[in-house]
Structures are given as C-alpha cells and as structure tokens.
Amino acid sequence: MKKYTYTDKKDTRSGFGDGLLEAGKRNPEVVALCADLVGSLKMADFIKAFPERFFQTGIAEANMIGMAAGLTIGGKIPFTGTFANFSTGRVYDQIRQSVAYSDKNVKICASHAGLTLGEDGATHQILEDIGLMKMLPGMTVINPCDYNQTKAATIAIAEHHGPVYLRFGRPVVPIFTDADQKFEIGKAWMVNEGADVSIFATGHLVWEAIQAGEKLAEEGIDAEIINIHTIKPLDAEAVLKSVAKTGCVVTAEEHNRLGGLGDSIAQLLAVNTPTPQEYVAVNDSFGESGTPAQLMTKYGLDAEHIIAAAKKVIARKKQNS
C-alpha cells in the first residue's frame, strides 16, 4: 500500500475560496454570486480583490441561478455559492431550464454537502444532490476530496466551457493530494494499485478509503483505490480496467446510495461486465444533528465500513468463481 501522510488539515471549502481567487486573477471574465453565505463559502478574498465582479444576491437562490445564466450572455463565467441543499434541490428547475437546457456556462459551487455539515441537521444535509445534478443532460459533476484538489478543481472548471456542479464540504480534513496538481475533469486518480478489490471513492470518503486500504494491507488484502472526483462524466475506462483486474467493487461516498457514485458505477458495470459491488453510502435516509465524526460513524461512512464492505464483496467474488 502506497503511503499517504499529511502535515496539514483544511476544509475543502477553503480550497474553493482560494481557487476562486486564483481563477479570478487568471481570467477577468470570472464573476461570483453568493446568497448571503460569503463567510461559509470562503469568498471574502475574491470579493476583496474584485469587488465589482461580485454580486450579493441576498437569500434568493432562484434569482441567483437565473442571474448567473444571464451573466454568461456577455461572456462572463459566473460562480454561484451557497450550501449544497440550496444550490440544487431548492433551485432544480432554475438550473434545469435556465442553465442546463439553455447550455449556459455557469459553475454551481456548493459547500456544506452531506452529513459532515454536522449539527445543523437534516434540513441542511443534502444527500441527494449528486443524483439531482448528474441527471441533467450536459451537467458536469465534481466532488473533490481535499483542500488541494478542490482548489485545483475550481481553477479547472473556470477553463472548462459548460455547466458544472462542484460539491465540497465544511469540516477540516487532511490534505494529502499534491499542492501543484493539475486537475483533469473526468480523469480518475489512481490512489493505490491493487489486485483484490477496487475501491472507488469520492469526496471526504477518499481519505477513509486510504485508511481502510492500509488496514486491509495489514491483513494481506491488496486493495486498489481510485478517486472518482468527477462523477459525470465518469471515467469509464479507469473503472473497467480496474474491475478487469480485481473482479469486485466497493463504492464510497457521502451521499444517498440511490443516485450517487455507486449507482453510476453499477450502471456502467451492469452493461459491460456485471460485477459484485458493495455500497458505502447513506442507506436511503435523512441525516440528523451530531458532530461530523459521530454522523459518519453512525451512518456507516468511515474506514471501518469500507473494510467490512471490501471483505464482504471479496467473499461474494470467491463464491461466484
């Protein structure tokens, strides 16, 4: 198992804030909108650097999405910022008609995704957003795993033409990817090559998958770990290549098991090479209040659950053979 360490921890939303500032420096057409959550979205540095290119919309997310669509007419590259729940479910029809169907170059940037939002509870912990966004034709869906990857992804989506949903989170988590990485949309990252099981992880679950991989290695299980930061378009080649080698799959995500990364992989495998798969995901329920760590344990989204899923799916593979 390849060794991953970290010396620093940061929230992925800070990666977004710093990436937005950098994207703004590189391209004068980059503009930003926020619905009364500037501090939470870490947009202060962008606003300070480019006050005329920032629009405070107030608590009016539908208007924010529509205005972002309009800003593209005239060549702007708008980044909208609010919590994931208010970035997707609240404004689904606005995104559908004014952004996706209208082919507008809007970047919908969503913080506080998933259970790790913590104490605010289920009203704010959206676990359906990946599903909602990936069903929209033409929408790119990205869920980076740490500060560095989120920053790189933010810079990359400014250079990509087309609507994008970028999902990140609130808690402070280890930084284990390269600071100077080039983020390639739609290109999976090989975290660790292995032969016994493919673990496909996204977002905060990537670090958990690495922890799981180390413990599995101690038990003689050689896990391949692949980071699927771009859920749509899915890197089908990387998934199929890995599965051809390992013959079984664990998917890990901070999302409902319905409609997330696991379903995207299952669909790909079902039509190409049906493969035993276990989901590490929220089992079709809402969240609740608690600390992020408590919630990830209670809802089964940690290294221990990835280990259990890996062992189970390896046993299923052996049964089949």
């Binding site: 205005m67 309009g70 007419i73 005239g74 606005q94 559908r96 008609q97 004014s98 169907y101 209208s102």
Partner: protein
Amino acid sequence: MKQDIEQLKQTASQVRRDIVRMVHGCQSGHPGGSLGCTDFLVALYFNIMNNDPSFNMDAKGEDLFFLSNGHISPVFYSVLAHAGYFDKSELSTFRKLNSRLQGHPTTHEGLPGVRIASGSLGQGLSVAIGAALAKRLNGDDSIVYTLHGDGELQEGQIWEAAMFAPHNKLDRLIATVDYNGQQIDGPTEMVLSLGNLKAKFEAFGWEVLEEPHGNDMASVVAVLEKAKSLTGKGKPIAILLKTGMGYGVDFMMGSHKWHGVAPNDEQLAAALAQLEETLGDY
C-alpha cells in the same frame, strides 16, 4: 430600418396571421397571449430596439430582449423571422418533430434570436438582470427588455428579482407586464389577485409606467419611448401594458378560453378573414 406606425401595423397584421396559422398547423400552442402581445413585440423589434439579426449570443453593444412567458412562442418566432433572424418558411415547422421552433423557446436547437429557454415561468427577469449586470461590467450602455405574463407574477422568483434590480440600480432594464387579466384557470383576479401592481413595483423601487392601450401601436411605441427616456436615472422601469388576450381575432378576444387552444379549419378561415396579408404568408 425603423418602421413608422403604419408600417408597424402592417407588420403586426402579418404576424397575427402567422400566429393563427402556426397554431392551426400543429393543432397546438397558445394563440391568445401571442395575439395580445403582437403590437408590443413588433414595436420592440421594428422600431425601438437596436439589435442585430445576424445574431451573436453575447450581444455586445446591442439591446436585448428576453421572453419570460415562453408559451407565447408563436408571436416571438414570427417576429424573429420577419426581423431577419431566420427564414419565415421555418415557421411551418412550429411544434413539429425535429424543429428548431420548439413549443417553448430554447437555445438548445440553435435557433437564432433566442438566448435563453423559457416556459417554466418566473425565470426571465433574473436572466435579464444577469445580462444587464454583464453589460454594466462590459461598459455597454445598451438596454435589456423583458416581457412577462401577469399571471406569471404569481411566481416568487419574480419578486426576488424585482428586489435585486433596484437595490443594484439596474437602470437600463425595462420589464413589461402583459397585463391582460387572464390566466389558464380564469381571470387573474379570481385565480390569485395581483392587487395594486403599480404600487407593488413602486414599493420595490421601480419606476412604473401604465399604458392602458397595449394594442394601439402608437401608444405602445410611445410608452416604450417614454421608458427609454427614463433609463440611466438610477431605477429599473416597469411597464404595465394593458392588452386584450386574443386581440385582432374577434371570437378569441377578451377570454382566457383561447389561452392554449388551436383553431379548427373553419375558425382559421374566420380569423384570417379579419387579418390582412401584408408581407406574404410563410
């Protein structure tokens, strides 16, 4: 070339013929609101706006129009065709399979003149504000126009946008309300009354113009000229334009019944008998 009032009336007559023929041709669509808004759209595209039918999506240095109540697509398509955005022969494909003239306007099929999809109501004012913000950033003094149904104002997003525009002093934005008092389920005052619309917009910080004769071409041009003269003075401008749903075809007028109903062959003939063919049918 700016058309004068007489020329505008001639154009409007042809557009009305196109509307009833298009809706008859596919036995589907919304003739009532289309007929009611014909004079407004003709005035806008043939007299008021500075726009380029060679069509560039970004529209730098051009006035812009956004149709928020997308169901009146027949009048929009006919006006765009006569203004030179695409050939009028394409009007015959309205609402048919593989057409660029979808039931509700879309950019998805690449139809020149359309810059946003509309149909799900309440979204156009926000889009127009975004476009106006882009113009301001680009140092472009052109004007952004919108049209909304009065029933559409029941959508909450409209009022989010209505709050944003004055706060940000978007004073090159002219939003017109097709104030025909009708919606699908009946008169607006019965379905969900709009109350004092003028006072509502004024309370939000808009300059409001009322035009009771929205189907009189000279009056429509005059109110739009008046609105233009008020741009650049720190406030967005709303026009409450009283129109008659179905205007120009006697049996379609003054009722919500022709909101989304197509005429049969006999009704088509009766309608066309009332509308002079001025520019040649498609």
